[in-house]
């Protein structure tokens, strides 16, 4: 409700645009029919004389539309017989008022061009302040020249009032952005609690940690290779509420932590981490814990963690000793700036680059890298068994320890001219001097105005859209800078700002031709598994291992510190020409594209896995609810679109999938499952599914 009031004005402005802008988006056929050249229009009646008798019927792709979620409803004008152009007359009626309760194309006829068998009439609900009770929009084919009116000749779409609770489609869309897809259980939670309420619930949900599973494996004498972290994350992602009184699963935290693992990258493709899944899980759990905590703590967690120390080589980092040609390792110093906090260029709050004389301004230079590298000296493995810098045991489950004996104690000049004083080594060596320098370095980075837009924009890209407007980035950065209570770096405020922003939530915003993001290939697996309640008879998730080579993505398995893809990757062609980025397109190759789709066809029968896995470990999508709709292709497509896509399909796509299902047998062994499997597959291969909007 608060959102509603806050952006009321913006909404009204947008609503007035609906009639024209959104209508043009209503599918190629209706757009094409409106754009028929005049000469063709005048010839229509002559052409109508030719060909077979034409019968026209009316159906609706949608059952209902909502004032709250202003997506259009689509009537389908369908023909049988004949192929020539035909002009179809229709009436719009029902209890609602055209132009008041909804907008639509002008006129009372629609031209069906030659060779086209269905055209679409879309209605766009208008949001008003009145409580009216549900109304109806009736659509009826009227008699005309060159066709007979068949049956059904009329249909209706229900028009619902504005409600505080999100619609199912809206909630599904929200969960695709904020969690792992629209499973029934979480969908019900969101429609019951609303977006704000669900976020609040999630902020206090207990953390689903991934480390205990690995620790238990060690205790049982089992291996802890890199696939175990994936299995452990799947257990957490797929878990359900334990009984009605149990705490809710922490889907939001899991998703935020996973998103952060693509910014603060460590990877088990490095040998030292490959078999150390326990430490890597410990790191991941910290990302989840601090991902909804404060960014300053998150940064400290990342800096002090031995997995990062190993990955970016600051564990064992020593002060300079020029006699032996030893200098502090600059690896972590460089990446903590370039990737984890401020990026390469000075930014405005809206994420655009500051320009001086038309040129972007670098955030740091080599002197800064060297100064930070000197701050990050004196790190060694920690834990209860390590008490000295030299020759420690490898230990990945506890933060690294700092030692002054190998710390550079001299003054350093950080960003913005901030200096650290000359420090004295502690005796005995408690690492106090090193700790003071690390703190100074992290504070220096944390306070840099770039952090809000730099991190905020990347989280928007991970969860909502690849090309957020500067205003959206600015609103998220503002939440980072101040949560409303004067606190900087409150990640709950950041996540709330990202997910509740009108650009993330409003239907009109999603209809921009540049809005959206390509669904991550690994997220496709999670979304399918979650939406269709996938599980193995054995309860194990081992079958999901070894995905990386097929789809070039797997948690904690990035090929480099630069993640699976760059936040600024531009796909060749139209997107490059328009200056748009599409990070996830970077791993869309001739092979991964098809591999990922194949898994969605095989999922229901062969299970979600890289290779065929036999039961009881085969992870099978249930499809129980959907199979019940298999006799009604319209209802099946509608249901799948709502939960898998969370947004309307292009009416043309809807018809393509509907026809394919209708062409499948409606009898014989397993016909319901075969139809449903095909429907899931075709929906998963649609551009609507693969591009989140």
């Amino acid at each position: 409700m608060r959102v509603q009031k806050r952006f009321g004005c913006w909404l009204l402005c947008a609503t007035t645009l609906l009639g024209s802008s959104a209508l043009a988006q209503g599918g190629s056929a209706s757009a094409a029919s409106q754009d028929l050249p005049d000469e063709l229009r005048t010839d229509l009646s002559a052409l109508l004389q030719a060909g077979d008798p034409v019968t026209i019927t009316a159906t609706a792709q949608d059952r209902e539309v909502h004032e709250r979620w202003g997506r259009p409803g689509t009537f389908v004008v369908r023909r049988t017989g004949g192929t020539g152009p035909v002009r179809v007359n229709y009436f719009l009626g029902g209890t609602s008022q055209r132009g008041v309760d909804y907008t639509t194309r002008s006129g009372n006829f629609i031209d069906m061009p030659s060779g086209v068998n269905e055209v679409f009439v879309q209605v766009f609900p208008r949001e008003d302040r009145f409580i009216e009770r549900p109304e109806t929009i009736g659509f009826q084919i009227a008699p005309g020249t060159g066709y007979t009116v068949g049956s059904p000749a009329s249909t209706t779409i229900r028009l619902n009032d504005w409600t505080e609770r999100p619609t199912e489609e809206e909630a599904a869309r929200f969960l695709i952005q904020a969690a792992y897809g629209a499973d029934r259980e979480t969908l019900n939670e969101v429609t019951r609690l609303g977006f704000q309420g669900w976020l609040k619930q999630q902020f206090s949900a207990p953390i689903g940690r991934t480390q205990p599973y690995i620790t238990a494996r060690i205790a049982a004498g089992l291996d802890t290779w890199h696939d175990q972290t994936k299995i452990s994350i799947w257990q957490q992602v797929m878990k359900k509420r334990a009984g009605s009184s149990g705490p809710p699963p922490d889907a939001l935290r899991q998703r935020v932590g996973y998103s952060l693992s693509q910014i603060f990258v460590v990877s088990q493709n490095m040998d030292a981490l490959l078999v150390n899944s326990e430490g890597v899980a410990n790191y991941y759990d910290g990302l989840m814990e601090h991902g909804l905590g404060n960014f300053r703590n998150l940064l400290e967690w990342v800096t002090m963690h031995p997995c990062m120390g190993m990955y970016l080589s600051h564990v064992g980092n020593r002060k300079a000793n020029p006699q032996y040609n030893i200098f502090p390792d600059e690896n972590f110093a460089r990446e903590v700036m370039q990737l984890f906090t401020i990026g390469l260029w000075e930014l405005n709050q809206d994420g655009t680059r500051k320009l001086v004389n038309g040129q972007p301004v670098p955030t740091y230079n080599n002197d800064h890298i060297r100064a930070f590298a000197r701050c990050f000296t004196g790190f060694a493995f920690g834990g209860p068994n390590n008490n000295q810098f030299y020759w420690p045991q490898w230990e990945f489950r506890h933060p690294m320890k700092l030692y002054d004996i190998e710390h550079d104690l001299a003054p350093k000049t950080l960003l913005g001219g901030v200096t650290t004083p000359a420090r004295a080594a502690s005796d005995p060596d408690t690492g106090a001097a090193a700790r003071a320098d690390v703190k100074a370095a992290l504070d220096n980075l944390f306070m840099h105005p770039n952090v809000g837009p730099f991190i905020g924009k990347q989280l928007i890209q991970r969860m909502v859209t690849s090309n957020p407007s500067p205003a959206y980035v600015s609103r998220v950065a503002a939440a980072f800078n101040n949560n409303g209570l004067g606190v900087r770096g409150d990640m709950q405020a950041v996540v709330r700002a990202i997910l509740l922003d009108p650009e993330a939530r409003r239907f009109e915003a999603s209809q921009s031709s540049t809005f959206g993001k390509k669904r991550e290939p690994y997220m496709v697996l999670w979304n399918l598994a979650k939406t269709f309640d996938a599980k193995a008879q054995s309860g194990k998730w081992d079958a999901i291992s070894w995905m990386y080579d097929a789809i070039l993505q797997e948690p904690l398995q990035s090929p480099s510190v630069f993640n699976f893809y760059s936040p600024s990757f531009r796909p060749f062609g139209e997107m490059t020409e328009q200056g748009l980025v599409g990070p996830e397109f970077q791993i869309m190759t001739a092979v991964t594209t098809l591999e990922a789709l194949n898994m969605s066809l095989r999922g229901p029968d062969w299970g979600i896995s890289r290779w065929i896995v036999e039961p009881p470990d085969r992870i099978v999508m249930a499809l129980t609810d959907e199979q019940a709709l298999a006799h009604d292709p319209d209802a099946l497509v509608r249901s799948l679109a709502s939960r898998m896509v969370g947004a309307p399909l292009n009416p043309r796509t809807f018809e393509i999938i509907r026809k394919a299902i209708a062409a499948m047998p409606a009898e014989g062994d397993g016909w319901r499952r075969a139809r449903t499997t095909l429907a899931v597959y075709l929906t998963a291969s649609s551009p609507e599914f693969n591009i989140l909007r």
Binding site: S313, S513, S560, P571, G582, I587, T589, T593, P687
Partner: protein, 465 residues
């Protein structure tokens, strides 16, 4: 229906192919350095090539013990070898002697590599000794000071990555064959199939700024299940997929997705059709995984005109060579597989008339320690490699075959030898043969001038004609 599943592979089979998990990984970097390259790469693309040339990288993952592949067989040399290798030494009498044209050294190859010896003596194969990843020419003192060393020395993942990027002082790079293809791909006819083809998964080696490898495997390229295939619903799926691809979408990302998917499907059919012709009768390959992989590559080369290509690279990977245990037995079992399959591939090229146009070379994570750990050998640095083809300056041993005496100036411990030839030089020689102008070598191998003067009249190593 189950037996019809085209991509049915068992996990065991996969694990059998890879030595360790790191091997299956691809890296996909996007460094500033390479972004800078993007602008210049296409501008430097070489002109129309009128002949076909291809490189085949045979990667032996895990670090193969190449000081038991190329072994000193003279009295003094063998004595040094035996003293250092002790219980992992091969008996002198079993070595297959070589007659190198450019060396007075008496050398032999592993007894399991008779076919390779024959190719060498017929001047169709050469060895390059003690190659490895280097940031710069490196001394033992540099090593002890930790100055200018590759990241993650002695680690599989790092050293695999560096053999493939040839930029061992950066964690962010692309593969050198990827950058090679950035330059050379414009000389091919426009095709949906990449210039770089892998029969062993996505390899970093073949990823460039504008190039990703086309990945296939011996039991078929990846198509879309149900699309123009055996699937019972294919007659329904195919038009539905086509219609969705043909539909117009108002959103730019949706349009881009559709275009890329269309291209992926086209690539699959183009590749499948180009390789359908098969090989000349009488060409046979060993009935094992490496043989099947190399046969697939031969098939693609046979279909080169259908694909309209002038330049191609191939990536094949076989075995797991990380023998900390039982190194002698395992090498005796596996090296014959390599020798026979490589020979079959060379003979297939002869049958296609392509033996002078295709060069196969080996690569591996690293060499192994000269000394034994009592059961096997451990991770080291430089190693010996071989190159096969009619374009090779064969019958010779290139580079510097190192002293095998313990604590010699290259030995940084346990007979782990500092490479005397950099991967950069090895790659540069191959890139020049593929037609890259010498002045463009730094685009492919940014560190090359640390090892080789671009104004030199000599070749980087000399193993290619």
């Amino acid at each position: 229906m189950e037996q019809n599943q085209p991509n049915r592979i068992t996990r065991r089979r996969f694990v059998g192919q890879a030595s360790c998990a790191a091997v299956g990984s691809t890296a996909f970097f996007n460094s500033l350095l390479t972004l800078m390259l993007t602008g210049t790469a296409s501008a430097h693309a070489v002109g129309q090539q009128d002949d076909y040339k291809a490189l085949v990288c045979l990667f032996l993952p895990g670090g193969y013990d190449s000081f038991n592949v190329l072994v000193p067989s003279g009295e003094a040399g063998y004595a040094e070898y035996l003293a250092t290798r002790s219980d992992v030494a091969i008996p002198r009498e079993s070595l297959l002697s070589l007659s190198p044209l450019n060396s007075m050294l008496e050398m032999g190859v592993h007894p399991g590599m008779a076919e390779l010896r024959t190719l060498f003596n017929a001047r169709k194969a050469a060895f390059v000794a003690n190659v490895g990843s280097l940031v710069k020419p490196t001394t033992k003192q540099d090593y002890w000071n930790g100055s200018g060393l590759p990241y993650g020395l002695f680690s599989h993942s790092d050293q695999i990555e560096q053999w493939q990027t040839s930029i061992p002082d950066s964690r962010a790079g692309l593969g050198w064959m990827g950058r090679l293809a950035d330059l050379l791909a414009p000389s091919n006819a426009p095709s949906s199939v990449s210039m770089n083809i892998s029969v062993a998964g996505n390899s970093l080696l073949q990823v460039g700024n504008t190039i990703t490898p086309y990945v296939t495997n011996p039991w078929g390229a990846v198509g879309l299940d149900g699309y123009r295939d055996w699937h019972p619903s294919s007659g329904i799926i195919t038009p539905a997929v086509d219609n969705m691809l043909a539909a117009e979408y108002q959103n730019v990302l949706q349009r881009t997705y559709n275009q890329m998917k269309r291209k992926s499907l086209d690539a699959y059919f183009e590749f499948r059709d180009a390789t359908a012709g098969g090989l000349p009768s009488g060409v046979t390959f060993p009935d094992n995984y490496l043989g099947e992989q190399l046969k697939t590559i031969a098939n693609v080369i046979a279909g080169r005109q259908t694909l309209g290509v002038k330049r191609q690279t191939f990536y094949v990977q076989w075995g797991g060579w990380d023998f900390h245990d039982e190194v002698l037995v395992n090498m005796s079992n596996m090296l014959p597989v390599v020798s026979k399959a490589v020979n079959a591939f060379y003979q297939a090229m002869v049958a296609l008339g392509m033996e002078n146009n295709v060069t196969l070379f080996t690569a591996s994570d690293f060499g192994r320690t000269l000394t034994s750990n009592g059961r096997g050998t451990d991770h080291a640095w430089g190693g010996n490699h071989f190159v096969v083809g009619g374009g090779v300056n064969g019958g010779r041993i290139f580079g510097t075959y190192p002293s095998l005496v313990m604590d010699n100036p290259l030995d940084v411990g346990r007979g782990s030898l500092i490479p005397t030839t950099a991967v950069d030089q090895y790659a540069a020689e191959l890139a020049l043969w593929m037609g890259v102008p010498k002045s463009d070598l730094p685009l492919i191998l940014p560190n090359i001038s640390r090892f080789y003067s671009l104004t030199s009249a000599a070749k980087p190593i000399g193993f290619m004609k």
